[in-house]
């Protein structure tokens, strides 16, 4: 039954976010014990992006109200997973208009779910009788199961009374110090934030209403509020809420956002006991976003730099991140960055991505040593991006007299210092047949936009290694073929105008005719970006697919001949979408086979 169900749920393709949400929840039940794609996380992600509509609201009411029924299979990280899901609901709640009946129900259901999680901690086996948001009156006196239906008074309360009720729940969860309670508090905090702003419209002052700062409050807040920030909630309001937690209400004048950075950071550093290892991904994202937001609200870079000295001193990667935010060249020496760090790998990945995006979006020239360091990252996406940017860098002549060479002379290959074994490991990672579809697409985009136009500029030993790996990676090539052919087919189906086709054809030609253009188009968009131009980029990849393969075979020359049979088999099964007459001719020429193939 499970196999059949997996097949059915994976077959259904829909653009409706609600249906996708359900499908991911269903798949998460089936893949609960495996290490495959985390469908629960995917469901949470959909929730956070869900736009407001009445249909969505009433559907979410059902989902939250029935959460006890379909989460029976969640065995690992139960509280964390449910809280993640409910935080997605809170993000959605923040998008709902006020005074809407279903919004009221949804909030009530969410608070009830939080109560359920709290009471679940205290129950013996974690199995509580199901409770729903409905009233006794609605059920009728003759129902046998009326204890299942409990009305939370919340629905009838005024906003300030509702806030008080959530605060009581929050304070109740503070009495114990278990990790589950911490997680539940990361759910209650965003609910409190939403209730606070609703109460503020009724004349309640947030600093007076929000409880004074206790241990772990700020950690919970940053963890819980990041989802709201990411979901588009008013950033200044969120910062005001955090400020109310950090700065006591008795100190007026401390309320400006630029002035809050220092106490906020000091408080956070204190709460994590000055240990970088305790910095969580979401809190880090929140702090980064706060720092960037302060730059847009009048704080100068120098002021901010001064306020962040304490953060810089904790870890060289944090120092690099400060440089990223300020848009400056890296301050910490590369040796310090190469040393072991206690920072969470997800936090390091944020810093690395930020640095790479800075190179793409600003005039700062990429530093080869930083690129080489990031090329060796454990995260394959970061490593790929660094490689692409390193290859791109080949075209920029040296601007200064660094490394003992004259300005204007061709620069040495960015990754020339990389040892042979590291290079082999890196190249084999490009062609890993186990990589995800998204990663495979990114690799093809890198080949098309970075590597292929500059094929002749990279060192011969690198070219040969890549060519060897590409010709041997038939499994990976076939996977790429399926992905590209499918995507391009859809894209062609959507694209109606012949004019657009001509335009894209021109772009592709500009990309592939690398010999005719002195200075190539420099990539400005990250490989991971999945924006509206993504399909267009993949279409260009399909055009380059066989040309790149032909270049690799030309690179190998005579040594490609032992693989002739495999190559011919591969070419025979090639889909029409990726066929290229010129590339086929080049391959046949190298392999010395007749054109009648």
């Amino acid at each position: 039954v499970n196999k059949e169900a997996k097949r059915a749920y994976s077959t259904i393709e829909t653009s409706n976010p609600l249906q996708n949400l359900y499908l991911h929840l269903l798949l998460s039940q089936l893949y609960a014990t495996t290490k495959d794609t985390d469908h629960w996380q995917d469901a949470c992600r959909i929730l956070k992006c869900l736009e407001y509509s009445e249909e969505h609201t009433s559907e979410l009411v059902w989902l939250v109200d029935s959460i006890q029924l379909y989460t029976l299979e969640v065995k690992v990280d139960f509280t964390t997973r449910i809280v993640e899901f409910l935080r997605g609901i809170v993000v959605y709640l923040a998008k709902c208009p006020r005074d809407e009946h279903n919004e009221d129900l949804l909030r009530t259901a969410t608070i009830m779910a939080a109560e359920w999680l709290i009471s679940r901690q205290s129950s013996d086996n974690g199995n509580l009788p199901p409770r729903y948001i409905l009233s006794h009156q609605d059920v009728g006196s003759d129902e046998e199961n009326q204890e299942m239906f409990v009305l939370v008074d919340n629905q009838r309360l005024s906003p300030s009374e509702r806030l008080q009720r959530t605060l009581t729940l929050y304070q109740g969860s503070q009495k114990t110090d278990s990790s589950s309670d911490f997680v539940i508090r990361t759910l209650l905090i965003p609910i409190m934030a939403i209730e606070s702003f609703a109460a503020e419209n009724g004349g309640v002052s947030i600093p007076d209403a929000v409880p004074c700062n206790q241990r772990d409050d700020l950690r919970c807040s940053l963890e819980g509020l990041w989802d709201l920030w990411e979901g588009g909630f008013n950033q200044s309001d969120l910062l005001r809420f955090v400020l109310a937690l950090v700065v006591p209400p008795s100190s007026p004048g401390e309320g400006t956002q630029s002035a809050m950075i220092e106490p906020l950071l000091n408080e956070y550093i204190q709460q994590i006991d000055r240990s970088p290892a305790r910095i969580t991904e979401k809190a880090f994202r929140f702090i980064s976003a706060t720092l960037e937001h302060s730059l847009t609200t009048g704080t100068t870079k120098d002021e901010l730099d001064l306020q962040l000295q304490d953060l810089r001193s904790l870890d060289p990667w944090l120092s690099l991140h400060v440089d990223n935010i300020l848009g400056r060249r890296p301050t910490p020496p590369i040796a310090a960055l190469e040393r072991e760090t206690t920072l969470d790998s997800r936090v390091i990945a944020i810093v690395a991505r930020k640095r790479l995006n800075l190179y793409l979006s600003s005039t700062i020239e990429p530093e080869p040593d930083i690129l080489t360091l990031l090329l060796q990252s454990d995260d394959p996406a970061i490593s790929l991006e660094a490689f692409g940017q390193g290859v791109n860098l080949q075209e920029s002549p040296l601007a200064d007299e660094s490394e003992g060479q004259n300005p204007g002379s061709p620069r040495p290959f960015t990754f020339a210092s990389l040892e042979q074994d590291k290079r082999s490991r890196l190249i084999s990672r490009f062609f890993d047949p186990q990589q995800s579809t998204s990663m495979c697409q990114s690799v093809w985009i890198m080949f098309t936009e970075d590597l292929f136009p500059r094929w002749g500029r990279i060192p011969a030993d690198w070219r040969r290694d890549i060519a060897k790996a590409l010709v041997a990676a038939t499994e990976w090539m076939e996977k790429g073929q399926r992905i590209l052919a499918m995507e391009v087919k859809q894209w062609h189906g959507i694209r109606a105008s012949g004019k657009a086709k001509e335009m894209i054809g021109a772009t592709v030609l500009a990309l592939v005719n690398h010999g005719d253009i002195g200075h190539h188009w420099k990539r400005k968009v990250s490989l991971e970006a999945r924006d509206e131009r993504f399909q267009e980029r993949l279409d260009a990849c399909a055009q380059v697919y066989l040309l790149l393969f032909a270049s690799a075979i030309e690179e190998l020359g005579e040594s490609a001949k032992p693989h002739t049979q495999d190559i011919v088999n591969f070419l025979v099964d090639l889909t029409d979408m990726l066929y290229n007459e010129d590339a086929i001719g080049r391959i046949q020429h190298v392999l010395g086979i007749l054109r009648s193939m």
Partner: protein, 257 residues
Amino acid sequence: MVLILNQTSYQLRNTSDTVPDSSEDGPDMLDRLAGIALTTSLGLVSFTIILALVLKHMLYSFLPNWGTHHDPEEQARSRELSAQRLRRRGVPIPFDTLPLFMALSGVSFLIACGLTILVLSITATAVFLVLQVCMALLLFRLFQFRPPNGKAIHAWGRRIISAFSHEADLDPEIADVGIPNCLFIHTSMVPKNFSIFTQLFAHPVEHSRCRVTSLAPWSQLSSILPSMLLKIYSQSNLSLVPALRLCLVVSSQSGRG
């Protein structure tokens, strides 16, 4: 002739002037009783006729337009929907009681006739009594009358109460008690009934009476759910979300089992 008539008139006048004795009291009482019985039977007959007309009107207004449905399954669903609407409007209760009223009106008419004849002749009364019994037996046989059970009366009462409460504002499509569970019990679990099952999960959550409160029996569906979902997916005119809801809760229940 005129003399005879005057004599008779004189005798009658004398009789009416005298104090009535007990033997003359009976026919007057019977007269009145006969009048009351006749009036009652007339009233009952009128009420029964009006009730029958109202029922006919309701049936007519809820009758779907069969001509537009070519698909037998679609016809069946329309018929089921129509039956549900009739049930929600309380039509089955008057249906149950209509034979009672018809029988009552018939019996009361016979009693009234009997009383009227009794006033006239004892022999005729005896004949009518026999006829009355025969007619009553025939009526009971003909309509197969069953008194409405207590549950139906209780449900009717609740419906009347709810008509005056806030629930009257709810969508009438979903305001009935326990329809999902009743339907579930009376619907065999075969693929052609999927659309009925999925509709049970299509109601907004706040309408508690439509909630499927016991999920345990639904686990029987778990083995056919994937094919059901694909079938609904292939029929683009049907909404997938109720079916997905059903899958979500049922598959988790079966996993628990």
